[in-house]
């Protein structure tokens, strides 16, 4: 079932009604399990995929039971290796095929198995394995594990909720339903997500696609450069809004995945605001774990280890998306950006001293420049995320060549085009200059509106009209609902 669809809206409504009518925790848990099964069923294409699904779930659960019974490092290493091997195979990492002679029916490039949300299942399993080994995991059972892995609001594309957090809500399912105001806020969040994915995101994507094949010119190349990150944000944060809203209606609080990423002042800050649950997973189970070992064994070289391991962590975050040359470049650029950010911070600390560093970090001009530079670096990275290496380089070449002959480039356009771009840039820079003020005004406004049920109902009605129009257009022109891009990872 597509998350941004009329079917999902009705599905959510039905589940919420049945769920809140049901007395007692066990019945509600059964209802949630059935809802997850109903949601998942159309996403698994064939019997062989179901078999792999079952094998994955049973195998990972047995590994957890084994580590619980014998909490030894070797068992954890075997569990991690097995989980990653199955992941690489099912994700068709072609590099494996060059080294392992698979029989033809098991050929990594040809197998038809599709396990939806595989990456997210593996992330959940690996963190459980490590936490189980270190005695930090809440009690497990097949029923709890199955529902944690397959709950319909996180199974396809996260957010990566930690097991102990899930269990806390799972055990509180007999609590009273949320109040009307809270329910309205969750429905508004769902519809906001649908508008982001189905209306705004779809429009930006169509603009991007229309410009993609005209890239030798400056205008289309710039649209490609800026539009794809905007589309990606709308698509993924919209999906996150939908599932956080749906989970909230059932009493589950999911972790946030985005926090105003376009206000980041460096690459590390950006990844602390974008796909937050993935970044924090990598921070905890890749970076922290490895840096702790390195800094303990080589305290004199800890700083250099931090650069190398930050590069590795962000590089892994990049290539997790895929192994094409574009994703590898995406990972390399993000890794370099993270390591350079850390090195720059160390240089500033060493040269400026505490009081001047404080003044530097709180200087408004420095902050503005940092945000603008980070924004462009992130757009550069996502250019390689969006397309293969050759096309990304062609777009960059077009921008570079046009900028090199700038006065003539501008004269090729009518005056309106550059004037609009400059006006938008000035407005954005002014908003950034006073972003603290704008943010606090926005937050206060949201707080006041959020406190009044009448205003919330009005907003919800307006959103319903938008979403109804959006789905009517989809139905009238026989269009598929826009897919959530991160489902394929």
């Amino acid at each position: 079932m597509a998350v941004c669809s009329l079917a999902f809206l009705f599905f959510c409504g039905a589940v919420v009604i049945v769920y809140h009518l049901a007395p007692g925790r066990l019945l509600r848990q059964v209802i949630l399990a059935c809802a997850s099964g109903f949601f998942l069923y159309p996403l698994v294409p064939d019997l062989r995929s179901w078999e792999w699904f079952a094998v994955m779930l049973a195998g990972t659960y047995l590994a957890l039971v084994l580590v619980r019974a014998r909490p030894r490092g070797a068992n954890v290493v075997i569990g991690i290796a097995a989980g990653l091997a199955i992941y690489l195979y099912l994700k068709r990492y072609r590099l494996l095929a060059d080294f392992i002679p698979f029989p033809s029916e098991w050929d990594i490039r040809l197998h038809p198995v599709e396990v939806v949300g595989l990456s997210y299942m593996i992330f959940k399993f690996l963190h459980m394995l490590v936490d189980q080994w270190q005695g930090q995991l809440a009690p497990i059972s097949p029923w709890r594990y199955l529902n944690y892995q397959l709950s319909f609001f996180t199974v396809t594309a996260g957010p990566i909720q930690r097991y102990n957090d899930f269990i806390r809500y799972w055990e509180e399912m007999d609590l009273q339903p949320s109040e009307t105001r809270e329910s309205l806020l969750y429905w508004i969040r769902i519809l906001t997500g649908m508008i982001k994915v189905g209306l705004l995101g779809a429009y930006v994507l169509s603009t991007y696609n229309a410009s993609l094949f005209e890239t030798p010119a400056l205008g289309p190349a710039l649209i490609c450069f800026y539009a794809y990150p905007v589309y990606l944000y709308l698509n993924f944060s919209g999906y996150t809004d939908i599932v956080i809203g749906a989970a909230g209606l059932l009493g589950f609080r999911l972790p946030e995945n985005f926090n105003r990423p376009w206000l980041s002042r460096n690459v590390l800050d950006f990844w602390d605001r974008w796909h937050i649950t993935l970044t924090h997973w990598i921070r905890d189970y890749v970076f922290m774990a490895s840096y702790k070992v390195a800094a303990t064994k080589f305290p004199g070289a800890a700083r250099y280890w931090s650069y190398a391991l930050l590069f590795l962590a962000l590089f892994l975050a990049g290539v997790w998306h895929g192994t094409t040359d574009g994703f590898v470049m995406f990972g390399v650029l993000n890794g370099l950006g993270a390591a350079a950010t850390r090195a720059y911070g160390d240089v500033l600390r060493a040269t400026l001293g505490r009081s001047r560093l404080h003044a530097y970090l709180h200087n408004r001009t420095v902050r503005l420049v940092a945000i603008v530079v980070t924004l462009h670096y992130v757009c550069l990275c996502q250019l390689f995320f969006a397309s293969d290496l050759d096309r990304a380089l062609a777009i960059l070449r077009a921008v570079g060549e046009s900028l090199a002959r700038l006065p003539y480039t501008i004269s090729e356009y009518s005056w309106q085009g550059p004037a609009i771009v400059i006006a938008v840039a000035v407005v954005l820079l002014a908003a950034l200059w006073r972003s603290d003020l704008a943010g606090s005004v926005f937050d206060r406004l949201a707080l006041r509106v959020g406190a009044r049920t009448g205003w919330l109902s009005t907003i919800l009605c307006i959103q319903c009209a938008f979403v109804a129009g959006m789905f009517f257009v989809d139905w009238a022109f026989a269009q598929e609902p826009p897919p959530v891009l991160y489902m394929k990872f």
């Binding site: 490590v130 936490d131 270190q134 005695g135 930090q136 995991l137 930690r162 102990n164 590390l268 924090h280 921070r283 905890d284 189970y285 970076f287 922290m288 774990a289 840096y291 702790k292 800094a295 303990t296 800890a302 931090s306 930050l310 850390r342 911070g345 600390r349 505490r354 560093l357 404080h358 970090l361």
Partner: protein, 87 residues
């Protein structure tokens, strides 16, 4: 755990060394956002220094939890005290 052990004072000294700031005074409600330079790397440096000074070990989930927005110095001190009591 030695009942006379002043965990807060010991932790404050570690903070001053790790963040190279002799003016830091720890209060229960302080969070990572209140200490300049408390990022993921210095977080680990801090935990390694605490582990060495106090003879305890932090699990990955505990290290992660301490970075959450709802955690503060008060919860950090309580975690250390519970580990010291557990021996």
């Amino acid at each position: 755990m030695n009942p006379l052990r002043d965990v807060r004072a010991e932790l404050q000294e570690i903070f001053r060394q790790v963040f190279d700031d002799p003016t830091i005074i720890l209060k229960d409600e302080m969070t990572a956002a209140d200490v300049e330079g408390w990022d993921s790397v210095t977080h680990i440096d801090l935990l390694i220094a605490v582990e060495r000074a106090m003879g305890i070990k932090f699990a990955t989930a505990e290290m992660s939890r301490l970075k959450e927005p709802d955690q503060n110095i008060g919860s950090f001190i309580r975690l250390i005290e519970s580990k010291l009591q557990a021996g």
